[in-house]
Every structure is written in structure tokens, then in C-alpha cells.
Symmetry: C2
Subunit: 340 residues, 2 copies
DNA sequence: CTGAAAGCGCTAACAG
DNA sequence: CTGTTAGCGCTTTCAG
């Protein structure tokens, strides 16, 4: 049992050719049902297992799909991955997952490794840092399907899966305005990433639309780490015009803000109304419950998987890049309640 | 550029043999530094990329490590995975991640696929359902390193990475007892899984130790889904002897319980003291903040990665199975505060 | 230090 | 319906 059986062993044992064995094992149409059964039986008896190394080499494909994400340990990302895994696994593909840790250099290395590993397709959500996209051209040049999701970059012939971040940002801000906020602070991530940039644009547009002044200082860039909450609090407590609304592009950071603000004596939503982004589980746990934008991660994963499988299966013309926009939803909870 | 260069192309171009090219590319000792540099230069110029398919076939190894987890989208699991990925990636390995979705059948399929993909090692955290472990013998027979973490199974020569669940269960329960609880309910997962079983045992031992009666009904088995919180509340509100302590083997479910209990009019911790397990982010967000057992997921991932790399590198004797026990920690917060 | 040549195990075109 | 045969591209003995 420690010795592995090859199709040659089976062929010899059954007195047929290796080709026949191969064909039997691969559901080839033109093979007699009788010999196929003989082969299958013998394969089972000897504990034969296909050697993918050889098969991959011969076919020049690996049945694996690569994924690069900023980090695995975020509720949103792991939910997306769960959806991707489910879809591609059902189709018989394996997922090689790697994380860039928000570093452009690591993203480049990951891309190179995945390329060399011979992934049949690549799914990417960009690192915050990334400014140069050369490491992806290797894939497009070799016609390896490449898809961006969430943190996307517009590359010729690469499908993207996103939500309408600008609209979502506008809706979130407008909601606060409708609740009576006049001086809203926006806390966002690196504006190089379109997700954050677009939400910021939506925020600005909502302000304009309602004739509120959108001074440059009304956005704070954050890395969303717990420590960084201090600079936000600092900004709020020293602002000349008192901040009465807070739109944070990330739920868990919004939660940190709420906790810190409450500790400082601010009442949510009486003094400051807060809205987050993502609809992470924490948003329903914090008190007051956090209003937010629902970002359907699992669905995004499923669609990313389906889309890439379509490209692999050739059922979609690879030249016709597509953009899938998933519906988001404004979720109103206590943290932005009007109270008069 | 669309055409790929092979070592033969390089060999021809440089007037050397493919063997020389291969050796140059692989840091082989006995190769003149001069020809090595010539080869490296030509490789860079032509955009040569190694073909892992061929290399894998020849070497009979893939430089990939397989992982099977119950699900990706849990805070704990994605944190562990993040640690694993970090370690093995630094060592030049790729991670193929798959999820069993708690189904034994899916776990078996995943194991088979990963075996056939030729992973060099396998890391597993078991599905709740799994009762039969035959799908793993394929690996041990072929001497492919196999490691279990968190939800483990004791298999000859397979290292395991765990915390001392029994002790943790005992400490959690004892903490509640010390806070004055007399009638503690334990909510756990499938007792087939040692993690839950051992925590339950620890709970029972704490009761015995303190002379409290441990009637069978003092444990409720749950799947930890939000819906299931009802049966727990039901049990508590109809219990003849009033429940004054709740030890839940899972933080997010503990949080659901707190929310539901509060809604029902129970005061936490005055009426019922609660302790969870894992130290998920939610435990610090809920009000009152949740006492819990810290389960260092990232560290577990890092150690799992290191351990398996050790086995792969041969730096550890594969026959000497080891068991790594990571330290947990009791974290006391408001939800279990004594109040008199 | 370098070259020749034999695999690694599977697939598929081409014959029959 | 089945067999022959030539790769897929890299690694590695064995010679030189």
C-alpha cells in the first residue's frame, strides 16, 4: 500500500494499454462499458490514485484557483472567502489562498508564487498600499482569468465585483442629514482604494446636495486599528464646530469609536449619531446598535466564484469584461436615531 | 511574451545543456559562478518562469500544504488560518484551504482531493459530525505529515495542537462558583468533539469539587446558531431551580444569550452570571462585557505552521508525535461580576 | 564543472 | 473501441 499504483500497473494487470486505463478513468465516451468497469474495479482494488502532478503537466492546468486578499482574519473577508470556496469547490477546483497583509511587496510575491504554481485563475482584493499593478500583467498576458473583488482596479478584460460604494456613501451620509446632523465627520481608509474613495465622494455629494459645507477637514483617514481611535476622538473633542454625525467606513472601527465616545461622556445618538459600514456581527452587539450599510460578503464570494468559473469554462467570452454590482442596503438601528 | 520559455530555450540560447540551466537556477553547488550568472541573466531577459507542473512531477512534491477547517467564516478560525498562512508562506509553501462545513462527507471529499492534489502535508480541524477517520489513513500510510489543531483526534504519529480544554472548562466554572453561582447551566457543542467534551468534563469536575450537584440536565447541547438561543432561554425560564450561572462554550452564542436574557428581563450579572469561551472581539463589545477564556488563535496557527514545517524539513523525527498545549487564560469582565 | 539521457505519470493525436 | 507513441518541462544519476 505504501507503493503507489500507476496507470501502467493497472494496464499490465489487466492486459490493456495505459491509454485505455486513462480513458476509462476519465469518462472518455468511446470506451466499452465492460472494460471501463474492469478498470474501475481494478483501480479500486489496488487503491489507485491519480497523480495530479503528471496530469497537470500533461494538461497544463491545475484545477486550482488562486486568491490574494489583504487579510484572512476579518469578518468580511472570511465570509467572502467562504462563498468563493463553496462555489469553486463544488466545481472541483481547489483554492490557494494567500494574504498580502496590506503590503504591496507581499502582494507581488504572492502573485508571482501563484503564477508559478500554475493557478488556472486569480481572484484579488487589493492591498491598501498597492499603487503599481505590473504583477498582474503576467496573468493577463498569458490569458489567465483575473478578477478583482471589493478592492478593485480597473484593468482591461478583468471582471470586477463591487457594490456601488459612492451611492452607499451618499445614502449613509444622507441618512445622517435626514436625522438632523449638520456637521458630519467621515472616517475612512486609504483613499487610494476605490472603495474608500468612492464612499468619500458619496459623502461629499450628499453634503453638497443638502447645502452643507464640505470642508476638507471633514474626512479623517485611519488604518482602522483600535489604537487609532484616539486621533478621531481628539479631532471630535477639539473641533470648533461640534461634530454631530459620524460616518465610519468600517463597522468594527465605528464600534471602537462608539465605545471611546461613550467613555468620554458623549451620548450616542443624542450628541453624535453614528453610522458604520459592512454590517459586521459586532454592529448588532454594540449598545446602541449600529446603523450601517449591509455589504453582502457571502454573495460577493459566490458571485466571484461563479464568474471566474464561467470564464474558465469558456461559457463567457473572456474578452468581454464584465462588472458585477451587488446591491447594498441601508440598515437603520439605534445609533443614528433622531431624538427630539 | 505569450510564448513561454523553458530551460531548453535558455540552454540553446546559451549553448549549454538543460541540466546546467536547471542547476544554475537551483543554486546547485557545483556550478561555476560565471555560467550561473549567464543563465540567471538570460532567464531574466527572456522572462523565464519555472514550470511547477514539471518540477512537481519530477520531485514528487508540490510545496503546498492542505488545510481542512469546519468553516472559514468564524473569527477564531480565520485568525488561526492567518497565522498558518503567515508561517508557511514565509517558508515558501502555498496553502490550499477547504472547508468541511461541519459535514463528514464533505471532509472526506476534501481530504481525497487534497491527497490527489499532492499536498506535502495536511492540517485539519475536524467537522462536528466526523466519527470515522479512515479518510486520513491515506496520508499516514504514505507518510504525509498530518496535524490536527483545535478539534483534534488522536491518531498515531500525528501531532496535535490544543489548549487544555478540560482545565479551561474547570476554571471557567470555578470562576462562576467563586462569584457565588450555585446552579450553573453549561451550553456546549457536539460532545463528540473533544474540545466540547473536555470543557464539559472540566465543568463537571468543578461542580464535584465544590460539592454542587451536577445533574445531567445541567448541560445543553447547541449548534450555536442564533435561532437556537430560544431553547436555552426556554430551559432557563422553566427550570425549577433557578439558574444563576451560564457557561457557554462559544462567545458569539454567549452574546446571543445575553441579549435574549436581557430582553426577557434577566439582569446580567445580577440574576445570571455569564462566561463565554474564545475571547472573540464581540466579547468586548457586548454590554455587559463578557468574561471568557482567551483562546490564542493566531498563536495556534503560527505553531501549527511551524510544527508542520519542522516535520516537512525533517528537522523533527516524524515518528515522534508531539502534542503542543497552548496556554489559555481566564479573562474576567463585567458579565460575571459578583454583586452584593 | 558540465553533458547525455532516462525518467516522473498522464494525455491525446493518430492509427488501426 | 483500443493500442502506439510522442510529448509535457524539469531533475538527476552517471559519465566525462
Amino acid at each position: 500500500m505504501a507503493k503507489k499504483t500507476t496507470i501502467y500497473d493497472l494496464a499490465k494487470k489487466l492486459g490493456v494499454s495505459p491509454a485505455t486505463v486513462s480513458r476509462s478513468l476519465n469518462e472518455h465516451p468511446s470506451i466499452s462499458i465492460k472494460t471501463k468497469e474492469r478498470v474501475l474495479k481494478a483501480a479500486k482494488e489496488t487503491g489507485y490514485r491519480i497523480n495530479k502532478f503528471a496530469s497537470n503537466l500533461s494538461l497544463q492546468k491545475s484545477n486550482t484557483i488562486g486568491v490574494i486578499v489583504p487579510r484572512l482574519n476579518s469578518d468580511f473577508m472570511s465570509t467572502v472567502l467562504s462563498g468563493i470556496e463553496k462555489m469553486v469547490n463544488e466545481a472541483g477546483y481547489n483554492l490557494i489562498i494567500s494574504q498580502s497583509l496590506e503590503l504591496e511587496a507581499k502582494e507581488k510575491i504572492n502573485a508571482k508564487t501563484l503564477f508559478e504554481s500554475g493557478v488556472d485563475a486569480l481572484l484579488v482584493s487589493l492591498a491598501n498600499e498597492t499603487e503599481d499593478y505590473d504583477h498582474f500583467t503576467t496573468f493577463t498576458e498569458r490569458k489567465i482569468p483575473l478578477l478583482f473583488f471589493d478592492r478593485v482596479f480597473d484593468m482591461p478584460n478583468c471582471p470586477t465585483i463591487i457594490i456601488d460604494n459612492q451611492l452607499a456613501g451618499l445614502e449613509a451620509t444622507e441618512h445622517l442629514i435626514n436625522q438632523g446632523c449638520q456637521n458630519i465627520l467621515h472616517v475612512s481608509g486609504n483613499l487610494k482604494r476605490s472603495v474608500y474613495n468612492l464612499r468619500y465622494k458619496g459623502y461629499r455629494r450628499a453634503l453638497e446636495k443638502h447645502g452643507l459645507k464640505g470642508c476638507e477637514n471633514l474626512v479623517q483617514i485611519s488604518n482602522f486599528k483600535p489604537e487609532s481611535v484616539q486621533s478621531v476622538i481628539q479631532y471630535i473633542s477639539t473641533s470648533s464646530a461640534p461634530i454631530d454625525g459620524l460616518f465610519v467606513s468600517n463597522d468594527s472601527f465605528a464600534v471602537y469609536c462608539i465605545k471611546a465616545l461613550t467613555k468620554k461622556g458623549y451620548r450616542i445618538p443624542e450628541d453624535i449619531k453614528v453610522i458604520g459600514f459592512n454590517n459586521d456581527p459586532v454592529s448588532e452587539v454594540i449598545n446602541p446598535e449600529l446603523s450601517t450599510i449591509e455589504y453582502p460578503g457571502y454573495k460577493m464570494g459566490v458571485l466571484a466564484g461563479q464568474s471566474i468559473l464561467g470564464h474558465l469554462g469558456g461559457s463567457i467570452d473572456i474578452e468581454s469584461a464584465d462588472q458585477i454590482i451587488i446591491k447594498h442596503k441601508l440598515i437603520i438601528r439605534e445609533s443614528s436615531q433622531k431624538c427630539n
